[in-house]
């Protein structure tokens, strides 16, 4: 793999880096330390600026009006976009466009008109309702939500857990069991409007992450037409899996973004802060922390970029994506932890963004498939066989 950035990539990275420093970081000085939304006027102004830069909707495929940026470049930009306090879960507060629901590209024409195109225009929001109280790591087997056919309709009953954005979504991708005897081949995906009778957001699930929170859903005799099926009956797991693999690369990049920023903070701080008559930078224990951070960051960065490069070449990248997700989420946690240690008492205060990153990064080792599942995926690819 050629590790040299192209001239275009260098320019884009520099452009986004400057945008974060000049437009995002100054606004954060006035926001709550846990905020994940800008004032509407600021958001509107910055979205227009991003559109002017030609970088709005980076994840939208070119045939749907996106800028046609490859995944390696998007990964490089994602590492830049998250380098601010809210950056892990709200990179640049979403002004570069929200992450789309990739499954909607598999929709039929009528569904695209109703859901995909409004999402791309920023008029509708969707949420992804897969995980359940019975488990999220093995969704194909854990799904207990049932959909039973009734003429040209399906009646759905059940519950979902850890669903981000459901309270503000216009529609949901709801995964339900349509054949109890077929395991992962008995799950179907439904596109459901959130104002459908029987669709309930029961509560906010409070976690270490105070914003961009999860919710718990309940479906009570929720009746949807057969035209709401995305893909085919019993073909839902393959649709879910598209997201679960592809999502791991930007997810890894997001983890890296705040860790890169934390490392920069540490490098600056150790050259200023004095203890016992000399700079922290002269202490070997501190030097070791800085070096260990750099090893963690570079290792995770190269694996993440390798996964992106293989995806761009249309090669199988499942092993690399799993490795990137595992490495980046765990490495970033270690990096931020060391940087907090270097900053001492200030590191754990809300004066600095470190405590927010520390809390939120802990979730990243679990979200989008925990480290243990990533190891299972890699083991299956390396050894063969399936999960038991």
């Amino acid at each position: 793999m050629d590790l040299q950035l192209t001239e275009e990539q260098k320019l884009l990275v520099e452009q986004v880096r400057r945008f974060v420093a000049e437009e995002i970081v100054p606004l954060e000085a006035h926001l709550d330390p846990d905020a994940s939304e800008l004032e509407p006027a600021d958001r509107e102004r910055l979205v227009e600026k991003v559109r002017g830069m030609g970088l709005f909707g980076l994840d939208i495929p070119e045939e749907y009006g996106g800028p046609g940026v490859d995944l390696v470049t998007r990964t490089l930009l994602a590492i830049e976009m998250g380098q601010h306090r809210a950056g892990l879960y709200a990179p640049c507060y979403g002004v570069f466009g929200q992450m789309g629901l990739a499954q909607l590209y598999e929709a039929d024409e009528e569904q695209k008109e109703r859901y995909l195109f409004p999402v791309l225009r920023g008029e509708k929001r969707g949420c992804f309702a897969l995980s359940e109280p019975s488990g999220g790591s093995d969704p194909a087997r854990a799904i207990q939500t049932r959909a039973i056919q009734d003429g040209n309709h399906w009646v759905i009953n059940g519950a979902k857990m850890w669903i981000s954005g459901a309270d503000r979504a216009d529609f949901a991708l709801v995964f339900a069991r349509t054949d109890p005897n077929k395991g992962r081949n008995g799950v179907t995906c439904f596109l459901v409007d959130t104002d459908t009778p029987g669709f309930h957001v029961r509560r906010v699930v409070h976690t270490l992450r105070s914003t961009h929170y999860a919710t718990e859903l309940q479906f009570e005799d929720m009746r949807v037409p057969a035209t709401a099926i995305l893909g085919t009956v019993n073909g839902g797991f393959a649709i879910a899996n598209v997201r679960l693999t592809e999502q791991r690369v930007p997810y890894a990049a997001g983890c890296l973004s705040v860790a890169v920023k934390a490392q920069a903070m540490a490098v600056d701080y150790v050259q200023i802060r004095e203890t016992f008559g000399d700079k922290l930078a002269t202490r070997q224990t501190i030097q070791n922390m800085i070096v260990d951070n750099e090893i963690d960051l570079r290792t995770a960065r190269w694996i993440t970029l390798e996964a992106a490069a293989k995806a761009d070449r249309n090669e199988s990248f499942r092993t690399e994506a799993a490795m990137a997700k595992l490495l980046a989420s765990e490495a970033a946690g270690r990096v931020v932890d060391r940087v907090m240690q270097i900053h001492g008492g200030y590191g754990v205060t809300k004066d600095l963004p470190l405590e927010r990153w520390y809390r939120e990064l802990r979730i990243r080792r679990i979200g989008e498939g925990p480290s243990e599942v990533q190891r299972l995926i890699m083991a299956r690819d390396l050894i063969g066989g399936s999960f038991h």
């Binding site: 709550d32 905020a35 503000r168 957001v201 029961r202 509560r203 409070h206 914003t211 929170y213």
Partner: protein
């Protein structure tokens, strides 16, 4: 599991009552003399003295005749939004003073 709606006791709003509060982060509600909730707010990470400061400011601005209740909560952002959405579900609208915030808010049906 935390109850969706706040269940803490109400107290008369005064500087004395505010001074007795912990300087911690959290959420609080203000009600008028009839017990009607007029605002749901939070004491966030930029406050110098958390709930104590915010409730003191409320007492200063409003004078006598109001009530308050607080809930210490590090997850004050998600808890604040949850309380607003629960109120909205129960009353078909937000507390009078929150209507002016014009903040984007979701919909829940806590049952």
């Amino acid at each position: 599991m935390m109850a969706v709606r706040m269940s803490k006791p109400w107290h008369a709003l005064s500087q004395e009552a505010a001074a007795a509060l912990p300087a911690q982060l959290g959420v609080y509600e203000i009600a008028d003399a009839n017990g009607k909730t007029v605002a749901i707010r939070y004491a966030g990470g930029r406050t110098l003295f958390g709930l104590r400061q915010k409730v003191s400011e409320e007492a200063e601005a409003r004078g006598p005749g109001f009530q308050f209740r607080v809930e210490v909560n590090q997850q004050y952002q998600s808890r604040w939004r949850e309380l607003l959405m629960a109120y909205q579900a129960d009353h078909n609208g937000l507390p009078a003073e929150n209507k002016q915030d014009n903040m984007p808010l979701g919909v829940i049906s806590p049952g």
